[in-house]
């Protein structure tokens, strides 16, 4: 069949997509607004044609998911099964907390999605901590979270988070959990201890190499971070390292300018996973400061092949400091014209009642599936992306 000049009859048409049988019996699919079933058409440019015997039936090319997507979704299901088995074997209790809440996460750089007079959660953290205060020791959850405006190769506005917490335990235990979980899930899906990132093969067998954030910033960005320097001093240090930042840049923005320009690309190029621990206090978020070193927070982040996989805290349990951090975050949100959310008073009440010393972590499940299946984009491991709805 020559592509141009073919003739055929439209078998069916829906939303501008037509199934056409050409004059030689081949069946093809193409789009043309205005066509109706039964029309005779000339001069077809055949996008993809099947011999009559190969015609795939009513599942047309339009409805059918491409093979790599089907495989990735099977991988996703295996990952979820392996993950639940992992936590069951360690006697964690799976919990489900509400997705629709009156007070979403107050982080400065996250925007919650409004729904039903409240907000969809940006993370299940607040309610899970209330469960810890209520008497649970080891809990985990796999749930959807929603973050307005996030859309990229590693981001989707609606995504799946895995969070787990250990009461009366340390951040180191959480780190070991995380390394084993990633290793277990990768093995369950790919039957290997390695993940493929482009042309690279990265071994995720524990333990993973670690650096402190200060070491990493010194090594790759040549910036010495104190943690209590004024923002203007950090801006000057970052400029001396040849990274552009504007006058009046806030402490965290100046930090991330250097971090994203120098440290993240270096970590992304490593042939092994990397854990960055001991974050400077201004980036503590909901982490406790180290008792012996108040300029450093008990926080780590895990990276594999350029993917930021997980963020963990030795949890802040002091209700007074928690309230002052919430208020500070809301003040900054107000200054930057971002929506100011209500403070979750029930969380603060639970902290006041007594949250045991705890450590917890949030891990992006979609990103874990990307690693396990070798997908280059989060789109490839979602059943449907927002654009496909």
């Amino acid at each position: 069949m020559s592509a141009a000049g073919a003739r055929g009859r439209i078998l069916a048409v829906n939303a501008g997509i037509a199934i056409i049988r050409g004059e030689r019996g081949e069946v093809s699919v193409r789009a043309q607004p205005g066509w109706q079933a039964g029309d005779l058409v000339d001069d077809l440019t055949v996008v993809r044609a099947y011999d009559a015997g190969d015609y795939p039936g009513p599942k047309t090319e339009v409805a059918r998911l491409p093979r790599p997507r089907l495989d990735a979704l099977h991988g996703r299901a295996q990952a979820l099964t392996a993950l639940r088995a992992f936590f069951a074997a360690r006697e964690f209790v799976e919990v489900e907390t509400p997705l629709l809440v009156p007070s979403p996460g107050l982080e400065i750089h996250l925007d919650a999605v409004r729904a039903g007079g409240g907000y969809l959660i940006t993370s299940p953290e607040y309610q899970m901590k209330r469960l810890l205060a209520g008497g649970f020791d080891k809990i985990y959850q796999v749930c959807k979270c929603f973050r307005g405006g996030e859309r990229g190769p590693h981001h989707a506005s609606e995504f799946t988070m895995v969070e787990w917490y250990r009461a009366f335990d340390h951040l180191d235990t959480i780190m070991k959990d995380m390394e084993s979980l990633v290793h277990t899930v990768v093995r369950a899906v790919s039957h290997a201890s390695t993940v493929k990132i482009g042309a690279r093969t990265i071994d995720v067998t524990p333990p993973w190499p670690r650096l402190t954030v200060r070491e990493a910033m010194k090594k790759w960005a040549n910036v010495e971070i104190a943690g209590d320097e004024p923002a203007a001093d950090l801006v000057a240090k970052v400029r001396r390292a040849d990274v552009k930042v504007a006058d009046g840049t806030a402490w965290d923005d100046a930090f991330f300018a250097a971090f994203l320009a120098r440290v993240e690309p270096a970590i992304a190029a490593l042939e092994h996973p990397m854990i960055l621990e001991d974050w400077p206090a201004p980036l503590a978020a909901l982490a406790k400061r180290k008792p012996a070193d108040p300029l450093t927070a008990l926080r780590f982040e895990a990276y594999v092949g350029g993917i930021e996989l997980a963020n963990a805290f030795g949890e802040l349990t002091d209700p007074v400091e928690q309230r002052s951090r919430f208020e500070e975050d809301l003040r900054i949100r107000g200054e930057r014209n971002r929506e100011v959310y209500p403070i979750d008073e029930k969380l603060l009440a639970a902290l006041a009642e007594g949250l045991p010393p705890s450590a917890g972590i949030a891990l992006g499940f979609d990103r874990l599936v990307m690693l396990a299946t070798g997908a280059a984009s989060i789109d490839q491991v979602l059943s449907f992306t927002a654009d496909e709805l």
């Binding site: 990229g152 923005d253 991330f256 930021e308």
Partner: protein, 187 residues
């Protein structure tokens, strides 16, 4: 005004009086850090490409550019002649504006032409074209391993590397971005 959530490939914006089109963009959001969109722009007049980080909340000015669907008619010296299918107006456009893929263009090919101040500044041709092979040496029998290719000439005169099983008279699908053979269109 556009904000960062409007950024997509092909968005036309005005910066310092020049029209730019977005050719690549990536959402970047470090954990606990501020989000921005790392955006690569092409100057529609000079073709120069540069990268800028647009912070969430920043605004971009739309460029006053017009996009018209046009049909490629024929070649004339170093120019290609296009026709607007709504008013039959014809426009000559320099081959330089189209680049290496111009030799894959067959008569009647539907294209999109961008005008800035009435001047054609950008031409987008379909990502895939379907062209008949007009000349190619027969492949050597037995050598059917994966990546062996041979040159073939298609009806527009362009040369494309094709697998050995392709014969004169076959219609092949070609990616105009890479100038590469994609697949044979079934007989």
């Amino acid at each position: 005004m556009y904000d960062t959530s409007d950024i997509r490939k092909g968005l036309k914006v005005l910066m310092d009086g020049n029209p730019f089109t977005v050719i690549e963009f990536q959402f970047v959001k470090p954990g606990k850090g501020a989000a921005f969109t790392r955006t690569k722009f092409k100057n529609l007049l000079t073709g120069a490409v540069f990268e800028r980080n647009i912070r969430s909340g920043e605004k971009l000015e739309p460029a006053n550019v017009e996009t018209r669907d046009m049909q490629f008619l024929y070649r004339e010296a170093g120019d290609l002649v296009f026709m607007d299918q709504t008013n039959y107006e014809q426009v000559s456009i320099s081959i330089d504006l189209i680049g290496a893929s111009h030799d894959l263009m067959k008569d009647n090919l539907p294209c999109t032409v961008v005008f800035f101040n009435e001047r054609p500044v950008d031409v987008t041709i379909p990502t895939f074209v379907f062209l008949e092979v007009t000349a190619s040496e027969p492949g050597v029998k037995g050598d059917t391993s994966g990546n062996v290719t041979k040159p073939a000439t298609v009806e527009t005169g362009a040369e494309v590397a094709v697998p050995l099983f392709i014969r004169v008279g076959d219609t092949i699908k070609i990616d105009t971005r890479t100038h590469e053979y994609v697949e044979r269109v079934a007989k």
